[in-house]
């Protein structure tokens, strides 16, 4: 028995040692990544200083062309949309951004409110590598799942399932699209799904959404809530009510592109049922620009101008 305990202790000591070494190596590489979602997350948390920021999941990253917005409005712009991530990520990122920089405009997607289990797990996983360096993020992660407090004792655990992404990101260079990820080709086999699709919102996700809007407004940022178009209009009335009430509550404009007939039932603009291709993204980006300009004109008249450089 003594022999077993001694060997077990040696083995545990080895695990702790290797865990520390591997974790340190991955951490070093992680923050040197030059492309992909890791780069976007690193950039958002550490470096971004653009005037216009877009926050959301894939309905942001594939839908809004940052360079077009920059050229049309004349303000620097970065698309911080990250596929499959929700409000936990956007709130954590924005908390870090406002510590060093006050953006002028924030475009925030309604989809970030989704707190579906799979999405929340993916979001928490994407934040793990930042827990060691950013206390606010660590607090959020533990708030979302208390067991993470213990799991984060491991140095290499935050880099679970990231090896391929890290090495891909070290080799491939980021295209100069300022976070916009175009999708090419038009959707085939798009199936008609007219059943109302409800977002899995939770009180927690709604609170974080509200906190983010409040934080942005407090830092002098003009906030726009946007709802991206889909191939089929299958939104639920309850969700629409929630988005409108959030917009009213925080007195921020709600740009709802979902019911726009320009997109509905137009497969040529879609890669799949929920994502526009580059052609569709161009149209939507121009619509957003027009709306921002229109709102800016109104605000200029009322003396509240977010687009002044």
């Amino acid at each position: 028995m003594k022999k077993f305990v001694v060997k077990l202790l040696i083995f545990i000591a080895l695990i702790i040692g290797f865990d520390f070494i591997l974790g340190s190596i991955f951490s070093r590489f992680y923050f040197k990544v030059k492309s992909g979602t890791i780069f976007t997350a690193n950039y958002a948390i550490r470096d971004c200083k653009e005037d216009i920021l877009l926050l959301g999941a894939s309905e942001i990253s594939h839908h809004f062309i940052s360079n077009t917005i920059k050229d049309s409005i004349g303000l620097s712009c970065y698309n911080l949309g990250m596929d499959g991530l929700n409000i936990y990520f956007q709130y954590a990122v924005f908390q870090e951004i406002v510590k060093r920089h006050a953006p002028k405009i924030l475009i925030l997607s309604t989809n970030t409110l989704s707190d579906a289990e799979k999405q929340s797990v993916a979001t928490i996983e994407s934040l793990l590598p930042y827990c060691e360096r950013y206390n606010a993020i660590k607090k959020m992660v533990i708030d979302a799942d208390s067991t993470e407090k213990f799991k984060l004792l491991s140095n290499s655990y935050p880099y679970n399932s990231l090896i391929i992404k890290i090495f891909q990101g070290l080799i491939i260079k980021e295209p100069k699209t300022n976070g916009y990820e175009p999708l090419w080709g038009s959707g085939i086999n798009l199936r008609l799904n007219t059943n109302p699709q409800r977002l899995n919102t939770t009180p927690k996700s709604i609170n974080y959404f509200s906190d983010l809007v409040i934080l942005a407004k407090k830092s002098g940022c003009k906030v726009y809530i946007v709802q991206a178009p889909r191939y089929q209009i299958n939104n639920s009335a309850e969700d629409q009510l929630l988005f409108t009430s959030l917009s009213d509550k925080h007195k921020v404009p709600f740009l709802n592109y979902l019911p726009d007939t320009k997109f509905t039932n137009h497969p040529e603009y879609f890669k799949d049922g929920a994502h526009l291709n580059n052609q569709g993204a161009e149209i939507l980006t121009n619509m957003l620009i027009a709306d921002l300009k229109k709102d800016n004109k109104l605000n200029q008249n009322s003396g509240n101008d977010a687009l002044v450089q």
């Binding site: 797990v121 799991k151 491991s154 290499s156 880099y159 679970n160 399932s161 391929i164 086999n189």
Partner: protein, 477 residues
């Protein structure tokens, strides 16, 4: 609480310490309390069902033991089997029967529209029901005496490492171990930990990673072409093997650390050269249970039909196996396909053996490779019914595989990870099958290689495993 949850990693070491410091006389009680605690943590109300099955089995097996009248013994056995099968039938087949009747009433327009009741299947019910039936039959056949201590019997039926997905153990192996627990020993502890480590690797690195690809394809069948569906269908048997095989190893390892030896559940099934050999290597505890309690009595009953009696017994046995897996047409067809494969082998066995002996094929590498591949293809093809959500989907998959080809759906990250896991798993199984004493890792005498391989597996799990506490496939059965 499942083996892959964070809670289990806290629960099990604490239990192991508590178990070994408990006086030997009361260790069964520690395990019984732990087993019920484990089960309560899944769905508290279902504990009542588990307790009900235990009480019924205890009472009727004591009655069987207490009488000498053959007819009464039989009567008690049948009553208990019917009683403990009732909850299984009710929970497992209620929804299916309901839907069938509703569909019929809809078809003839006489359905009264009332809200549907969807019942949740109590986890592990198929497994502990089989444990209890096996024990009842063993007592009836006088292979074992009825257990006098209801606590020990309750532990046998609820033993936490086995209750959710097996292996489906036998009373004659387990009851003596609970009644006279072993002393703590280095070898059991060490072997138990190694089995658990390899089980976690199979589940988290191989099964769950393959599952991500298979789910992405099978979850959107109309969007995928036949090539991707074929590839996913070839991957699925590996997923099930790594999932249930991994679960079994964790269960066996857990039990071993607690001083209890449990039967093997898988024996490198993809190295089988025929379907009958495959079924001696795949889900061994279920198949041996079906063989002992269904196939053998049936083939005895049908012995006058000679080889055709065996065919009938095989078809019925695998039909029951299909039904046991789920109340759906897909599982029935899956079971019947296995029955047909095995029947064909039984009917052609003599000729095949003569042919193999004539040309001395059994020792030829190329023949073994072809036989293994053919067996795997047959099993993978039948597993489409085991994986598809319904019969319509299964047919669509076969149609697409045969007619609609195109470029393979690629998810390079997921594929990259599972290929690493699969290669390691294949290498280990290949070594165990053909060179069991060579290229040793966990058992190597060189401490550097031994500890190096433990660390390699630990960090493979930590870095490329899927650590989201996902469920095991067989929990749904």
């Amino acid at each position: 609480m499942v083996f892959t949850s964070f809670n289990f990693l806290i629960f099990f070491p604490l239990l192991a310490i508590l178990y070994w410091v408990t006086p030997a006389k009361y260790r069964w009680l520690t395990l019984l309390i732990a087993s019920y605690f484990f089960y309560i943590n899944i769905k508290p109300i279902f504990v009542l069902l588990l307790a009900g099955v235990t009480i019924s089995t205890y009472l009727f097996t004591r009655l069987i033991d207490g009488t000498n009248e053959e007819s009464k013994k039989k009567q008690y056995m049948v009553i208990n089997i019917v009683l403990i099968l009732l909850p299984l039938f009710f929970f497992k087949y209620f929804n299916a029967i309901n839907e069938g009747i509703f569909a019929f009433l809809d078809a003839i327009n006489i359905r009264w529209p009332l809200p549907e009741i969807k019942l949740l299947l109590p986890v592990g019910i198929s497994f502990y029901t089989f444990l209890a039936i096996g024990y009842t039959v063993d007592v009836y056949n006088e292979e074992i005496e009825a257990e006098k201590n209801i606590g020990i019997l309750a532990l046998f039926i609820s033993f936490f490492p086995l209750i959710l997905s097996g292996p489906i153990e036998r009373a004659k192996n387990m009851l003596p171990q609970f009644n006279a627990p072993k002393n703590i020993d280095y070898i059991s502890l060490s072997q138990g930990l190694k089995l658990m480590l390899w089980g976690y690797f199979m589940k988290l690195v191989v099964a769950d990673r393959i599952g991500m690809y298979v789910d992405a394809v099978y979850g959107y069948i109309p969007q995928h072409n036949g090539t991707s569906l074929l590839f996913a269908s070839f991957l699925y048997p590996f997923q099930v093997y790594a999932d249930l095989g991994g679960y079994s190893l964790i269960a066996i390892g857990t039990a071993k650390i607690l001083g209890v030896n449990v039967m093997q559940n898988f024996k490198r099934p993809f190295f089988a050269t025929s379907m009958s050999e495959f079924w001696r290597r795949w889900h061994i505890s279920l198949i041996s249970w079906l063989t002992d309690y269904i196939y053998t009595p049936l083939s005895f009953a049908f012995r006058q039909y000679k080889i055709w009696g065996i065919v009938i017994a095989l078809m019925i046995t695998f039909f029951i196996s299909g039904i046991w897996h789920g109340a759906a047409l897909t599982f029935v067809v899956w079971g019947l396909i296995q029955g047909i494969f095995l029947s064909i082998e039984a009917l052609t066995n003599k000729r095949r053996m003569n042919f193999e002996n004539k040309f001395n094929l059994r020792n030829r590498g190329w023949y073994i490779l072809i036989s293994c591949s053919f067996t795997f293809i047959l099993f993978a093809a039948s597993q489409i019914f085991g994986r598809a959500a319904n019969f319509k989907d299964a047919i669509l998959i076969y149609q697409k595989i045969t007619t609609n080809h195109g470029s393979l759906y690629l998810d390079m990250t997921t594929m990259g990870y599972f290929f690493v896991g699969l290669i390691i798993l294949f290498f280990k199984d290949f070594r165990d099958e053909y060179f069991p004493d060579k290229i040793l890792f966990f058992e190597n005498h060189n401490i550097l290689i031994r500890y190096g391989s433990y660390l390699f597996i630990v960090f493979s799990i930590l870095l490329i495993g899927v650590l989201d506490s996902s469920q095991f496939i067989y929990f749904q059965f």
